[in-house]
């Protein structure tokens, strides 16, 4: 049945930014604008005072299945995604077993189909078992449906292996993602290295651990011509190097996470394990640099690095607790905070959550163009609410934003023309 979304503020980044109507039929966008032709018998939804945007695309989530289903499953992760306005998510391969072969990729896609919520697109491993030694069957992974390759939390330390991976990936035009961290420099570290790590006696991870790998990867991208995507950059040095690489026309893209532009290492005080993530929260200067990078386009994409962990795991001591926080259900208001602050226009904020990530991974997503899949989010940009992890759709509750009063609420999420999420109390 056709659906008419009436009178909302529609933003299709780069194409349309005005009040209008959106018509969906048979799972596709069929019309956008004012005075559009309404198919007979279409259901009507009023979007007055609401934003109507392409469903968000997250290039970086961890759905934990197979292997760690007590933290998150593809079903619960996808439910969390659509509650946050995300209609497409790309899941990292650090499951157990690692997604380094066609069978695991197919399993993930099968689970995602069964969940019938969001589009879940797997990211394959660069090396077998993400051990950094032998290349995974990247051609098979691509054919099975992987949209990018990464060894994620286990960055490829051997530069020759990384070079070969970048070269090999050229044959499939698949982006190579690196979590930039020199594992020797970072060894044993659990927070940013600096005054606070010194005071708390916690082993630090210096900004240089990220910077040296960004430098290496940019050099290798230049050598090979590969499409390099840098996951969750967190330092001023990374922003500077990505800016420079882009100015030279290299095919380098980058993402930043809301926690890296909203929080500093100060939050770790009191040994707060909900402030433990990798890369770690950095300094005020780094946060400013990330914002500058978002503003001037150096950083293409906002991604969540949604990393669910069970409560008992985060209740351990700071050094023992795992890295990571959930992010899908808080990304929208935290991004809109950048609009309030004047860092991003509303359109560029929407773009960094939809059209830009789709472009980086060459996904036919993140747009409201007629003919595109009808993946849409309807947002109340003025709604104020308090973050309550108890209400998350995710299986996990690990967020440092609990209790924050935020603005911007997802009212309705539509995937392939089907309503998959509606906020409680929304009409």
């Amino acid at each position: 049945m056709a659906l008419l979304i009436e009178g909302g503020h529609i933003i299709d980044p780069g194409r349309f930014n005005a009040t209008g109507d959106l018509v969906i039929d048979e799972g596709k966008i069929v019309a956008i604008g004012r005075g559009v032709k309404i198919p007979p018998g279409a259901a009507r939804v009023s979007a007055a005072g609401r934003l109507v945007v392409p469903g968000f695309v997250d290039l970086h989530v961890h759905f934990r299945e197979p292997g760690y289903e007590y933290k998150e499953t593809i079903q619960s992760g996808a439910a969390s995604a659509v509650a946050g306005g995300f209609t497409t998510v790309c899941c990292m391969p650090n499951t157990n077993p690692v997604n380094d072969n066609q069978a695991i990729t197919e399993f993930i896609l099968e689970r995602a189909r069964a969940a019938r919520l969001a589009n879940v697109l797997p990211i394959g491993a660069i090396t077998k078992g993400s051990e950094g030694k032998e290349l995974a069957e990247i051609g098979d992974l691509r054919r099975a449906g992987c949209v990018a390759i990464s060894d994620d939390g286990k960055p490829v330390m051997n530069s020759l292996v990384m070079r070969r991976a970048m070269e090999y990936a050229l044959a499939f035009d698949i982006p190579v993602i690196d979590h930039c961290e020199d594992l020797h420099l970072a060894e044993g570290g659990c927070m940013n290295e600096g005054l606070i790590s010194t005071e708390l006696g916690l082993p630090g991870i210096p900004a240089a651990a990220e910077d040296v790998m960004v430098a290496r990867n940019v050099s290798l991208a230049e050598l090979t011509g590969a499409r390099l995507h840098l996951a969750h950059i967190s330092t001023a040095g990374s922003v500077r190097m990505v800016r420079e690489a882009k100015s030279r026309g290299l095919r380098v893209t980058a993402e930043a996470c809301p926690h890296h532009f909203m929080l500093t290492e100060e939050v770790v005080r009191g040994f707060n394990t909900l402030a433990k993530m990798n890369p770690p929260l950095r300094t005020w200067q780094d946060v400013q640099a990330i914002k500058d990078g978002l503003r001037d386009g150096t950083i293409d994409v906002i991604a969540t690095d949604h990393a669910p962990h069970a409560t008992q795991e985060k209740q351990q001591g700071f050094t023992e607790a795992p890295f990571g926080i959930v992010g899908l259900e808080t990304a929208l208001p935290l991004t809109l905070a950048l609009v309030e602050e004047g860092i991003l226009s509303l359109e560029s904020a929407v773009e960094k959550l939809s059209a830009a990530p789709a472009r980086v991974f060459s996904l036919a997503k993140g747009t409201l163009q007629p003919g595109a899949d009808a993946d849409v989010a309807i947002i109340d940009p003025q709604a104020q609410w308090e973050v309550d992890p108890g209400k998350f759709r995710s299986k996990s509750r690990n967020t440092p934003f609990a209790g924050w009063k935020v603005k911007g609420l997802v009212m309705t999420t539509i995937v392939g023309g089907r309503v998959v999420f509606e906020a409680a109390g929304s009409a």
Binding site: L200, G201, P203
Partner: protein, 306 residues
């Protein structure tokens, strides 16, 4: 008077007055430890649990003796003899201990922040007996007590802390306490062992031991963890000893009458020459003796007993 704190986790938040109160309280217990019958009934009926996840002889024994001399019931838990080896978390272990009505838990753990994590989860008072590289408050307090006992006043006192400051909880607690009381703290060691931003904690960093010792009244040596040689922190023990070992010759760089301290156990011939450890300027054994009195004072204050 008592400390209005449930826990003693770190010296960073303590005021100079609170530190002085602890030292003064220790005075009266120092007198008790000199008696023929070294026992008072102050903590009779109270239970103190020593929860030591890291091997320790000196600190655990010192706490045990302190609690016993206050007539408390004392239980010692160590990982090898408890359910920790069965995978129980720190918090679960502590809650079980608490369920047995422990009034005070004394915790030693290899992870920074363990005491704070524990204190948030239990109603019992928690005393940090060393957590990772973070703090060792009772060691610093007994060091302060020992300095004070030598008639030195803290205001303007020049103290050099020598060695692996990065990995030292003793150094951190001493820097907090000494600077609060008005002392000038110098830290000295190879740059690989001086942590980033130490100056913001109020300590001045030196890389040359002779320069750092000039004019100090207190030389506080840190134990060198010999296994760190493999971590590219220093090339050889031989070179470390040559550059940062305290020799009789070097003691002369300090102010006449300067005292030499060490939290133990000492590596003779590495960070400290045997003749210095055994010299008249060494107060290493006074530190051990004072440890009991200071811990008695802390247990007494933490128990809220009057």
């Amino acid at each position: 008077m008592s400390l209005k704190r449930k826990d003693l986790l770190s010296l960073a938040p303590l005021s100079a007055e609170e530190i002085k109160l602890i030292l003064e309280t220790a005075d009266s217990f120092k007198e008790v430890t000199g008696r023929e019958i070294k026992k008072v009934p102050a903590l009779r009926g109270r239970t103190v649990v020593n929860l030591f996840f890291e091997p320790s002889t000196r600190t655990r024994t010192s706490f045990e003796l302190a609690a016993k001399r206050l007539s408390a019931d004392v239980i010692n838990f160590s990982p090898s003899s408890s359910s920790v080896v069965k995978g129980e978390t720190l918090l679960d272990t502590a809650r079980n201990i608490e369920a047995m009505q422990a009034d005070i838990i004394v915790l030693r753990h290899s992870s920074a922040g363990a005491a704070e994590t524990l204190a948030r989860g239990v109603k019992s008072s928690v005393i940090n007996a060393g957590d990772g590289w973070h703090e060792h408050p009772t060691q610093a307090l007994l060091d302060l007590y020992t300095i004070r006992e030598r008639g030195l006043s803290f205001q303007g006192l020049r103290v050099a802390i020598v060695g692996d400051v990065s990995h030292s909880r003793v150094a951190r607690s001493n820097i907090h306490a000494l600077t609060k009381l008005g002392a000038e703290v110098r830290v000295v060691g190879p740059p690989t062992m001086i942590p980033m931003g130490i100056d913001k904690l109020g300590a001045k960093a030196f890389y040359n031991l002779d320069d750092a010792l000039r004019g100090v009244q207190v030389i506080m040596m840190l134990r060198l963890q010999l296994e760190r040689q493999g971590r590219a922190l220093f090339p050889t023990i031989r070179e470390y000893a040559r550059l940062y070992g305290l020799t009789a010759e070097r003691v002369k760089m300090a102010e006449p009458g300067a005292i030499v301290m060490h939290p133990g156990p000492i590596n003779r011939g590495v960070e400290i020459a045997p003749e210095v450890a055994d010299s008249l300027s060494s107060v290493i054994l006074d530190q051990v003796a004072n440890g009991v009195a200071v811990r008695m004072g802390i247990l007494y204050l933490m128990s809220g007993a009057n």
